[in-house]
Symmetry: C2
């Protein structure tokens, strides 16, 4: 493909992401998800937006709070976005904290707590919501609250015994999820407030990803390893989640950018991306599959060969980032491939928004638009990030 063609292709898509965000995705959630009575967001919506279940995901109060503030900050300063973000944050503050400072996982529509879990992701999403809202409003009280929650996450994740462990003490393992999540949470929070704990956390996570979770002998970033990065030869220890790894890859590039395009960090990120694309890209049907076993045994998760929405959106962001940094046309081609496969199979032309769960061949496995794990997050984040990334790429190409 010639440069001119690449330029035009990207320019078209940059606009498409923006209009899709503003005209399709955000209105779908504002109209069908925003709870005008109790505040906050519902996410259990059927294909046409019908509310299927009034249970509220605490993750999604934070995620929606972040997305609407980020859309306001980066794409369009629409007051409705800011007020939606604030509604989610108010709901979090009024209903989603337990007396120990930790947060619930699910609550009723009026905020009555239903379930608390041993993980810290509710807290992570609350941090990015408050940080982004603070940037939108210049109201520092929110970034300060976010920093307090961030420090609570660190305390709970670093103090043995504070969280009830899933496994007996005999199984000494650690997971990639919180490690990578903390990079992103700290990067977002740092854009709102300065604190040395943020850079320290980012450095610590990067070190663990590089030294413990990356296993060159399998050309893989593993989801679960021993406390010092030891390979655990079980189904769990051999699990590769390619979409997750690719998400980590672009999280690292955001930090590399902050460090004036730190070359070492770029190399690590590209390595993770290249490994994970090779594991995850489905040469037969297209798209990124869910799970692989690094010794090539059949992966035991039911959904291992399915195509979920978020590994695709993360790959769109990562390939654009890679192309921006390297100018390597191979990354552009991968971007084009995953972008077109995604847009061919996920958007719902009739009722708007995207399906979330496809079979391996791209057929729709179930058509609902949301549940407690799918709502306004990965899809709009991809549109915001990709719009901005392409603008950077076009600027670079214009030089």
């Amino acid at each position: 493909m010639k440069n001119k063609e690449i330029y035009n292709y990207l320019k078209t898509w940059s606009e498409k992401y923006k209009t899709d965000l503003i005209d399709n995705i955000l209105p779908f959630w504002l109209e069908n998800g925003l709870d005008k009575k109790h505040g906050g967001f519902y996410t259990c919506l059927d294909r046409n937006g019908t509310l299927m279940d009034t249970t509220k995901s605490v993750w999604f109060q934070g995620r929606a709070g972040y997305i609407f503030a980020s859309s306001y900050n980066e794409i369009d300063p629409n007051p409705a976005y800011l007020s939606a973000s604030r509604s989610a944050i108010d709901f979090l503050e009024n209903h989603c904290f337990d007396t120990d400072g930790r947060m619930y996982f699910e609550v009723e529509e009026n905020g009555t707590p239903l379930r608390k879990r041993r993980y810290l992701f509710s807290e992570c999403f609350a941090v990015i919501a408050m940080a982004e809202y603070s940037k939108a409003t210049q109201d520092k009280t929110y970034s300060k609250k976010a920093l307090e929650i961030f420090k609570l996450i660190l305390k709970y994740s670093q103090t043995d015994g504070l969280l009830q462990p899933k496994y007996e003490p005999t199984l000494k393992a650690k997971g990639h999820s919180l490690t990578m999540m903390l990079v992103n949470v700290a990067v977002v929070l740092r854009s709102a407030i300065a604190d040395e704990v943020l850079d320290k956390t980012i450095q610590n996570s990067i070190q663990q990803i590089r030294e413990d979770f990356m296993h060159p002998e399998y050309k893989a970033l593993l989801e679960t390893v021993g406390l010092n990065g030891e390979f655990i030869d079980t189904g769990i220890g051999r699990t590769i989640n390619p979409g997750h790894c690719i998400e980590t890859a672009w999280f690292l590039l955001e930090e590399a950018k902050h460090q004036n395009w730190n070359k070492e960090l770029i190399d690590i990120s590209l390595q993770i991306f290249d490994w994970s694309w090779d594991w995850g890209y489905d040469k037969q049907y297209g798209g990124i599959i869910n799970f692989k076993d690094c010794k090539n045994f059949p992966h035991q998760d039911y959904s291992q060969d399915m195509k979920f929405w978020w590994p695709q959106t993360e790959t769109i962001i990562a390939t654009l980032y890679n192309f921006l940094i390297t100018g390597n046309e191979d990354y552009f081609n991968k971007y084009k491939e995953i972008n077109e496969w995604t847009y061919k199979h996920f958007p719902d032309d009739k009722f708007g928004e995207w399906y979330g769960y496809l079979h391996r061949d791209g057929s729709v496995a179930q058509p609902a638009k949301g549940n407690i794990f799918k709502g306004p997050f990965h899809i709009p984040r991809m549109m915001i990030k990709s719009h901005l990334l392409i603008n950077d790429i076009l600027q670079k190409m214009e030089k």
Copy 2:
């Protein structure tokens, strides 16, 4: 189909189940699953029997202990079966109990505990293993131990606060799983030892199934209801698991038989079966699917449209039971339909045993023979039960 044809068809299948059990299923697990060094069973086996993961499922020590003793008792008094059963039971007794009398969920191959959960299924499977082994050996110490564990299950399930609840106290709900499981566990245990708590437990479970879990307004037996059977209008509360309900249906028929073919119990069971077949049978591709939502919203479990092995085996048993009791040819036709669909798609002609996880259309989703949820249980139990049920049907037809 004429009676003669039905007779011949059933006779052929009765033999087929027996030879399949003796020549295929049990040898597969004895050769590849039985741990000659530490005792007990591995179940994480690849398609050809290769050991993929040495983690041992505590459920499957009990399940295998039950299956090998039951095969010995009902089909073929092969000493290798008895010793395999004993190996699993010894492993349970030596390694799988915590100091509070409760059991672990996963252990290492040498018995080091890995994970304990808040559910009582490890305990349930230990009970049926010891009960069946006690019948095989006439060694009453095992039925007495089983009864002690049974009483511990009742204590833990009936005493608030003993098990850490999954949900906050605000969500008052109960599940169908343990309720139905206790019917089967008590029926098996009662065949080894008498105790009034067994009949009382069975009656209590039946009453809850009939009054709380059966919801005629949806023609459904629901998986989760309020403490007094209230309908909960969320994704969880609307969940129908047809294979699970059909398993309950034949559990009730075993009790009906014990009560001299109690007519009321038969009617409840047939009602549950008829409802659940209508929800679960896939008219387009055949087989029983995993989940439905009783208000016909899209079910949110990834695997909702997949075909797992065990809903099919439970339906084979239930349809045979129904035909034995009613002589209604419609049940024979349903039996034939599910039996042939199952035998067409699940058995692995090359390496023996059955695949466990198929896509909706019957194609293999992943070819491993076992994991911590699939091992020697539903498939051999179906073969044992179906062989015996058909013999009863043939006897009745010969009259």
